[in-house]
Amino acid sequence: MISLQTLVAEVKNLQPIPAVAGQLLAVADHPDSSMADIAKVIQYDPVITASVLRTCNSAYFGMKHPVESIKDAVNLLGVDQVIELALIKSGSQALGGSQKGYGLDAGEMWKYSVSSAILAKQVAARLSLKGKNTIFTAALIKDMGKVVLEKYVAQSSGKIADLVENQHFSFQEAEKKALGIDHAELGAMIAKMWKFSPRMVNIIRHHHLSDETKSVDKQIAAVYLADCLCMMLGGGVGSDGLAYRFKDQVMKELGFSAVDMSMIIADFGINMQEVEALLQMA
């Protein structure tokens, strides 16, 4: 078991996700916000702004004229794309490293996170859900608990493997049993310490739907579903593999069929270069 004080101290040592992400979300999913409001929030962070502009000017977008301001970027690429770029850039520092305890080399979990976020966007669109930027961001950062927990997972790897392989535990259940906390709970704690909204904290805490009653919250269900899809697709999956629980009931409640699932996988297969392009962002 890990003491709470130890974990709090570790979280304080992390490089946090820049405040701009939280502010951007507050503005982006607010129905009365204008493009100018959104541009203003992004411009407030010069590092994120420079990075977004650099990406806009990369070969991938094929712009004829250089994009020199966030306002230009919004006009040329659309507000959704610019918000996504800014959110992705915000998360890359905190999540881009290696997590050896989960068998992940540098950049692998980040690839998984970006893929998850893109899948979550597709799920949100297919089910016409509100708060698409919140869903996108939650899918992007939901595994940040692993950044801290990986060290402890490594120390207890034998016990966790035994629980998963021989005692029918999911990986998350095994973390909880062996360490006293799982990566979803720890991720929620980090999000809270970093002053993300209660909404975001809640989605991160329940992103594996270990408490099935939380599926009435469609945003949680969408992030959960995108995570399942991403595990099945395999890119950036660690030693925890696919050892999480699938909930048929949640699919029924969402009105999400096996055909919907296949269609999203196929769309992702077509648009995979989007992930690659986003990953190449500095």
Binding site: L242, A243, Y244
Partner: protein, 159 residues
């Protein structure tokens, strides 16, 4: 030289200096074939069982689906001189999430689609590592036909 097969992708080779690899098979299937007589091998990495859900996408990315990808893999190997009766066949992937059942179990459906096609066309699987809850990477060396599988978090194992 390492040839990388992406997701919804396929490569064949008769170059003895090459190996072919495909990474991170979750529910997707990595189908590996090899004819030792002519030293021709290939890997297909497909994502879904059946192209009938979207013909347009199948036309654009035939390697995305079992039914449109598998025949193309075999035909590409035949073009390099491989013959069906000599072919060694190895299957990896088709993993599933815990409790994933019925039509939602894409991993199992991916595998069943392959089995059905092989039964119809009298192709035998030489060996396989399918199902379970693990993520696999598979590699073949063209010179020897040796196949290696790596499960995330552990080392590479020769088949």
């Amino acid at each position: 030289m390492k040839q990388i097969v992406g997701v919804a992708d396929m490569k064949v080779s008769n170059n003895p200096r090459e190996s072919i690899v495909t990474y991170s098979l979750g529910s997707c299937i990595g189908l590996v074939i090899y004819d030792p007589a002519v030293k021709v091998g290939g890997i297909l990495h497909y994502m879904l069982p059946d192209s009938s859900i979207d013909r347009q996408k199948a036309a654009l990315r035939p390697y995305m689906f079992a039914d449109s990808g598998i025949p193309r893999l075999f035909k590409s190997a035949y073009q390099l001189g491989a013959a069906k009766q000599r072919m060694r066949v190895y299957v990896a992937g088709g993993a599933e999430i815990l409790d994933q059942q019925g039509f939602f179990n894409i991993g199992k459906r991916n595998y069943m689609a392959l089995k059905k096609m092989f039964f119809k066309n009298k192709v035998m699987i030489t060996s396989q590592d399918v199902g379970g809850n693990v993520n696999r990477t598979v590699r073949i060396e063209i010179a020897t036909g040796d196949i290696y599988v790596k499960t995330s978090g552990s080392g590479e194992v020769k088949i």
